[in-house]
């Protein structure tokens, strides 16, 4: 069963796969008759939005499903083994030897109380290796995923590694059993663009060296297109389109695929860029000068200075841990800091001092009180921010239907929740709104609509944004100027177009490079041959 023995047919063969979940109210179909095959050494991609059944379909290959799942299929086999027939010991052996899985959150996939070297060695020990042999092979495995010096890394605990390093460890573990198939379930979703590029390049290289097949599951169409030979598009548990990635992207046949492609943030277009408000730079809304912040001796921000003009959108990019979120919290006054942040009061009449900043957080699930209805939230916000709209007017302005007003956040979709969070920030005339990754927890199609909403609100009300994101395409779309944070320092601050054309700092160049490489010239390799406009149109 191991490795490169007889490989006559495809590594993965799935025919008419159906998976449902039994619930209190009957069975809920998550996957409705999906078929696909993956050849040995092939890179296959499954793309779709949350709830499309892409993860469920792929995880069925490991037979790791919830206890209330009902599975039926015409064929479901990996490396010639019928997965449905496996039980107990044989199932465990199959999982250990035939496939590996890399999960979205490497931090959760690793045991926090165990050095990573031991965790990798454990896989070899379970396969029967002795203690010292397992340790040696673990070192080799870590070197293979370019974690060097392996001896040093092996002794580290997961929290001492960066997100990218953690994911390399998970990959090393997944590959420890020399599997025929590697399932990558959103492997780079929590990571920033530069690390994403590195991790995906590593996987591509290892696939070429070791000859395993990969199934890459993602909601990120450009990423899948860049790293897979063929892709399948899933919608509501049905595979609506399948084909070579180049063909699917250039001439999508199904309406859903077309809408997915249309919703992609367009790295080169400035379609929705708000009209510049930079004319009023003489009186910036906020002036930040020499701001530093340490968390227990760990530097989060160092000597950051900039201004945001009235009506200006300032984008802030940087990898996780670069201090982006801390910067947002400093401006919002949610944390202490050294240095100065001065708000221009704008000659407001001297009533009760109103808040100068509102924040739209990344995770709308957490930023709305689960026990308060939409109406309660909005009503209170209008009152506190001294707004002059009614709850209904405010709801209209962000596209929340009136029948949603008396619901609790738990009864709303992700996009609706984020709209409520946005409405809360716009309940009064607050001059600065900080958007901290407001769309990165959302599906692509909803992402596009939320961005459009933010742009529209900005143009209508003339507020300024500090727009924090790791997605260069999104930031470019919405920002007048972009600042690049690297290790707590603001290494570059330029007009958006200028940054994309002539980034000076090596780190900004890398960011721009990673962003462009995904959008340009599908398939990979022939990077600059295509005008991206053609692909996206």
């Amino acid at each position: 069963m191991t490795g490169a023995t007889h490989r006559s047919g495809p590594v993965v063969s799935v025919r008419d796969l159906r998976i449902g979940y039994r619930t209190g109210h009957g069975t809920l179909q998550a996957v409705k008759g999906v078929s696909f095959a993956v050849q040995a050494g092939e890179a296959y991609g499954l793309v779709g939005e949350s709830g499309s059944g892409k993860s469920t379909a792929a995880m069925a290959l490991t037979r790791y499903l919830a206890p209330n799942a009902e599975l039926s299929a015409g064929d479901l086999s990996v490396a010639g083994v019928d997965v449905r027939s496996l039980e107990g010991r044989r199932l465990r052996h199959f999982r250990a030897e035939s496939l590996g899985v890399v999960y979205q959150e490497p931090g959760l996939a690793l045991n926090p109380t165990m050095a990573v070297g031991e965790q990798v060695a454990e896989v070899f020990r379970l396969a029967g290796a002795g203690r010292s042999e397992a340790a040696q092979r673990a070192h080799a495995a870590l070197e293979r995923v370019q974690l060097t010096p392996a001896a040093v890394i092996a002794g580290r605990y997961p929290h001492e590694l960066s997100g990218g390093q953690q994911q390399r460890v998970v990959i090393a573990m997944a590959l420890a059993g020399s599997p025929d198939l590697l399932i990558l379930d959103e492997p780079t979703t929590g990571l920033d663009g530069r690390v994403e590029t590195e991790i995906m390049a590593l996987i591509d290289r290892l696939r070429a060296e070791l000859g395993f097949a990969t199934i890459l599951i993602s909601h990120n169409l450009p990423l899948i297109a860049a790293h897979c030979r063929r892709i399948g598009v899933l919608q509501d548990g049905v595979m609506v389109e399948e084909g070579p990635s180049e063909r699917v992207l250039r001439s999508p046949r199904h309406a859903y695929t077309r809408s997915l492609i249309a919703a992609l943030p367009d790295i080169d277009a400035r379609r929705s860029r708000p009209a510049s408000g930079a004319d009023d730079t003489a009186r910036p809304v906020v002036t930040v000068s020499g701001v530093s912040k340490d968390y227990h001796r760990k530097r989060a921000l160092r000597d950051v200075s900039f201004t945001i003009g009235r009506g200006e959108v300032l984008g802030i990019v940087g990898e996780s841990g670069s201090g982006k979120t801390t910067l947002g919290r400093v401006l919002a006054g949610l944390t202490t800091y050294d240095g100065q942040v001065t708000f221009d009061q704008g000659g407001r009449p001297g009533r009760r001092r109103l808040p100068q900043v509102q924040v739209v957080f990344q995770n709308a699930d957490l930023s709305l009180n689960p026990r308060r209805t939409v109406r309660q939230v909005l009503k209170r916000s209008i009152r506190l921010l001294d707004g002059d709209q009614t709850v209904e007017q405010l709801a209209d302005s962000v596209g929340i239907e009136h029948e949603l007003l008396d619901r609790l956040p738990g009864q709303l979709s992700g996009g609706q929740k984020q709209r409520v969070a946005i409405a809360r920030a716009f309940a009064g005339n607050v001059p600065l709104v900080i958007c901290d990754e407001p769309t990165s927890a959302l599906d692509v199609s909803i992402q596009a609509r939320i961005i459009d909403l933010l742009v529209e609100l900005q143009q209508r009300t003339g507020v300024s944004y500090l727009f924090i994101s790791h997605d260069m395409a999104v930031v470019r779309q919405i920002s007048h100027r972009i600042g690049v944070l690297y290790d707590g320092e603001l290494v570059e601050l330029k007009q958006s177009d200028e940054l994309f054309e002539s980034a000076e700092h090596p780190y900004s160049r890398q960011l721009v490079e990673s962003a462009l490489s995904l959008r340009r010239g599908w398939p990979r390799g022939d990077a600059r041959a295509e005008e991206p406009g053609q692909v996206i149109a």
Partner: protein
């Protein structure tokens, strides 16, 4: 790309469709804020909850209605230490009093001191816990160090000291029990509040200059309420047992009260021959305490995300 922007609803599949698929494979926390009604229904579907609730209800009825029904726990029926019979279902004690009547009437005291003590403890502990969790810093440290000291004192010994100092009247006992259980509750509520403080809705409220009192009362308390409810019930069970224990040790109720602990103490010497004098009050304490504990367990299970 010209899609209609504002009014179009997000074309998601119905919310239910998202959860099982994602949860099954990714171990994502599934429950999207369970609405309240299903929680009540889920409780009613659990047999241990229903049985416990019926038992507690029985004792509440006994405590409230014994005077109405005309039970007499104090007068001599004429026969001393009579075995259970049709006329005296639980027999009589050494003074000829009906054990049946005394057992039912004993619920009165058990359900007065325990619950009021538990409510006291929850109000005091809950308020201090929310304050410590909200303000953090010095307030938190100061409160918590004091609580740490109080929590390590064995409750029964602590109570004995308090009762010796402040007397064993009903009011004093309620206050003492409230004081003894408050620190434990405060610590748990503080932990729950700290978890909530990390969430964006608290930050948003602060950014809108919402008053501290409103943030604590309207934003935080409703979200730690399930935890509080469990703590009320758990300390209730414990408080009932504690009152009985104090009476058993002679520090609580005094004769001729029908207090369960006192009955057990007074009749202990008859245990070998006239077991009914001890068994029924003991069963009464046990059934009430275990039932309340089971109710707490069930609430905890149901409100787990």
């Amino acid at each position: 790309m010209g899609m209609s922007v504002l009014t179009s609803d997000e074309n998601l599949p119905e919310p239910g469709a998202l959860t099982p698929a994602a949860a099954a494979v990714q171990d994502v926390a599934t429950a999207s804020a369970t609405p309240r009604r299903p929680r009540a229904r889920a409780l009613l579907r659990r047999p241990t909850f229903v049985i416990s609730a019926v038992i507690v209800l029985w004792w509440i009825l006994a405590a409230v209605l014994w005077k109405v029904v005309g039970l007499d726990p104090y007068s001599n029926t004429g026969k001393l230490l009579a075995a259970p019979s049709w006329s005296q279902p639980f027999g009589t004690d050494n003074l000829g009093r009906s054990v049946f009547a005394r057992t039912l009437v004993g619920a009165d005291r058990a359900l007065l001191i325990g619950p009021l003590g538990a409510v006291m403890a929850t109000i005091l502990g809950g308020a201090l816990g929310v304050i410590a969790g909200y303000f953090r810093g010095i307030v938190d440290t100061a409160l918590m160090r004091v609580f740490d000291v109080l929590v390590v004192l064995p409750p029964i010994i602590f109570l004995i000291v308090l009762v010796t100092a402040f007397g064993s009247g009903t009011r004093a006992l309620i206050l003492c029990i409230g004081f003894v259980y408050a620190p434990g509750i405060a610590r748990i509520i503080r932990a729950a509040v700290l978890a909530e403080m990390g969430k964006g809705y608290v930050a948003s409220a602060r950014l809108q200059r919402e008053s501290r009192l409103r943030i604590m009362a309207l934003e935080l308390v409703p979200n730690v309420w399930p935890t509080m409810l469990v703590q009320i019930t758990l300390s209730l069970a414990s408080a009932i047992l504690m009152t009985a224990t104090l009476s058993f040790l002679g520090l609580g109720a005094q004769p001729p009260s029908a207090d369960w602990g006192l009955q057990i103490n007074a009749n202990m010497i008859y245990l070998q021959q006239q077991w009914w004098t001890v068994l029924f009050p003991a069963l009464a304490v046990a059934s009430l305490v275990v039932s309340v504990q089971l109710i707490a367990d069930n609430i905890k299970e149901v409100s787990r995300p």
